[in-house]
Homo-oligomer: 451 residues x 2
Amino acid sequence: MDRIKPRTLSGFMELSPEKQAQFEKIKDTLASTYALYGFTPLDTPVIEASEVLLAKGGGETEKQIYRFTKGDADLSLRFDLTVPLAKYVAMNAGTLSFPFRRYQIGKVYRGERAQRGRFREFYQADIDIIGDGALSIINEAEIPAIIYKTFSALGLTRFIIRVNNRKILNGFYAMLGLSEKSGDIMRTVDKLDKIGPDKVKALLTDELSVPSDAAGEIMRFMEIKGKTGDVLSALESYAGKNEIFDTGLSELKTVTGHLSDFGVPAENFAVDLSIARGLDYYTGTVYETVLPDHPEIGSVCSGGRYDELAGYYTDKKLPGVGISIGLTRLFFVLEDCGMLNEEVLKAPADAIVIPMTEELSPAISAATALREAGIRTQVYTEQKKFKAKMSYASKLGIPFAVLLGEDEIAENKVSVKNMATGQQETLEVSKAAAMIKAAITEINTAKAIKE
Amino acid sequence: MDRIKPRTLSGFMELSPEKQAQFEKIKDTLASTYALYGFTPLDTPVIEASEVLLAKGGGETEKQIYRFTKGDADLSLRFDLTVPLAKYVAMNAGTLSFPFRRYQIGKVYRGERAQRGRFREFYQADIDIIGDGALSIINEAEIPAIIYKTFSALGLTRFIIRVNNRKILNGFYAMLGLSEKSGDIMRTVDKLDKIGPDKVKALLTDELSVPSDAAGEIMRFMEIKGKTGDVLSALESYAGKNEIFDTGLSELKTVTGHLSDFGVPAENFAVDLSIARGLDYYTGTVYETVLPDHPEIGSVCSGGRYDELAGYYTDKKLPGVGISIGLTRLFFVLEDCGMLNEEVLKAPADAIVIPMTEELSPAISAATALREAGIRTQVYTEQKKFKAKMSYASKLGIPFAVLLGEDEIAENKVSVKNMATGQQETLEVSKAAAMIKAAITEINTAKAIKE
């Protein structure tokens, strides 16, 4: 037979079973945390009509889109989960209850240039809250709580949720008479972390022709940092000059004012006036999440408030707020930084039943009993030497080997070997099940990430 | 703005939030049952190089494949989960431990003619056990146990796992001197359920030129039915004439002999000599699963033993056994038959906290406490009348409304209203959490399917 060399396309993450188990742990944690906040799971198609998916125009990303024809249909693979959500809500607005809270964790596709850490197929894990005509600011206040709970559940303690409000920025630039240049200025100021204040100021004056005193004002504004209360006080000194600014400040106060009710510790939160996130979509609160020990990673969870989810599909006003985690990239950088918790159970089974006699019935019955107790159990039935069987269990990292030799069968018991400690004891199956179950429950408290 | 009419492509299932919750329940049940048997989750890409995906040749399905170019790459969307598994195992054979047991639940793509109940994007939920060079027959015996556990966990009791062995058929046709026609004969006999024995016999003699007495022998053979013990006895009378037949019969005895150890009740199992499943792939035990009350659905879980998983990628011999559930179609037919259990909790939240004062902090704190207790909780913060808030909760089917008015706040308590019974009581948040948690745990014992 002519053989084809098996390969996986570059830019497509395909994991070993052990790594996949770690990935699943993260994915499951995101799903269960999102669900805890009353978001309902959605699962829209990967393929959409190009006309629908590109209704807004793809802009810079259009070249990256996987677009093709099948028969006479012009089709595209989704490049994010927001456009399919907009389509879904516009189509189903008559039957959905608003606010509509959904989460979706799914693969999206972008034909980017192949590069280390860049993926062409990757998971996004999104939540959005969509209002019908209006949406209370409290929803914007709840988002940091969800981010906090999500990353805490993953095992992180050292992360900072950075929050800003686009109305504050828009109002501030209006005060300076720079409304028309505000987009370009935000883009430049967004580089503060990367290139530092001197270069940002130079770019503002030289490339954007911002007057020197206004550039100075901008730099002073961006230096407003520190505890939330102090930042709010400093912002107060700009109040009363521009209505949009004042609205933004009021919104920011509401968002920060409910943090402790929502259970977000002060050390995981910061107002950061330099962040803007995207330029024409967001209209209110914006969010980023950074790991202070790993600034090179950038934001691991971003989003914000928008006024028009689906303007290109419907005349219904659908404001919302949402965040997105680039799960595939997050997994890649966590692995790269050595932050995946190796104590997470990566084995395909909690217990492996190893028969040591010709007769397999007692082993199979024992496995059936363990499974009834909720223990993930494999029966090893290949004709191999005992050593090879134990080596298989060990290589897979299965925590418990359950041995059935003639003695055990005669006594109607099993011998349970703890593969980590080497300890072995002989006991009744029901007691073995209880013991293994308790140990596995303990092991499964391990979180996905280790700092 | 020019508006585009939002639509979802035909042949692509996109569910309402309520239906999606029911779908998720089924998907989660499959995943957890598969995991219980020691299968590890894999997640291969949706897109593969066409050369790799079509290594075997697509045959009849080749026209259905979504194939396109991006840059100079010739790409295809996976049309099943078996070819990607073959690729994965061939690529990683050096590092995997065998037997390699994996499950995968993922979307696959086939551009079939649009038709009611036919999908172009659909989930398959597969398990496979792959051996390195050899694989014990006990793995084939375990499969009915997995099928039984899976459908029981979904809530079904009336289903029958039908088993046959291709070696028995091959041996039997060899005895009749019909080996060369065996493929065509199997295809014809496979129609027994649909067209009845007279027409099958006519097809055998008229179209396949099977001699009349041989056709009679075949029909008599296919009439062997009933209890497993009786079928095995009847098959014994054919033993000793053909080696392959005898091997098949011995395998069938092993498979059926361990059913009770594996916990499979006799009433959910039947040897059925008429089933063959695919014509050149399977080499040993084959499986189908049918619902006797709904014969029109056909098999809802099928598979079998094969000798060569990845012959087109590697010279390594990789025998295996696997089954597949067409999840999207299963969901469609269950809904169509009215068999989805409407008692499954379809709401996005277990509890909705409804503040009845201007001050929201107590409501947010109560929600935070409920979430800490693992209760999926939404805070309703829109400015609406009380009646509208309750109507929202009711429309979403959220089981508990947690009300915070001035009295509750003054007493540091909450009022919990059971939305189904209308009963309401005022109690401390911690007690409310315990009460709601217990009720939700009870509700969540509801299985996905109701017969």
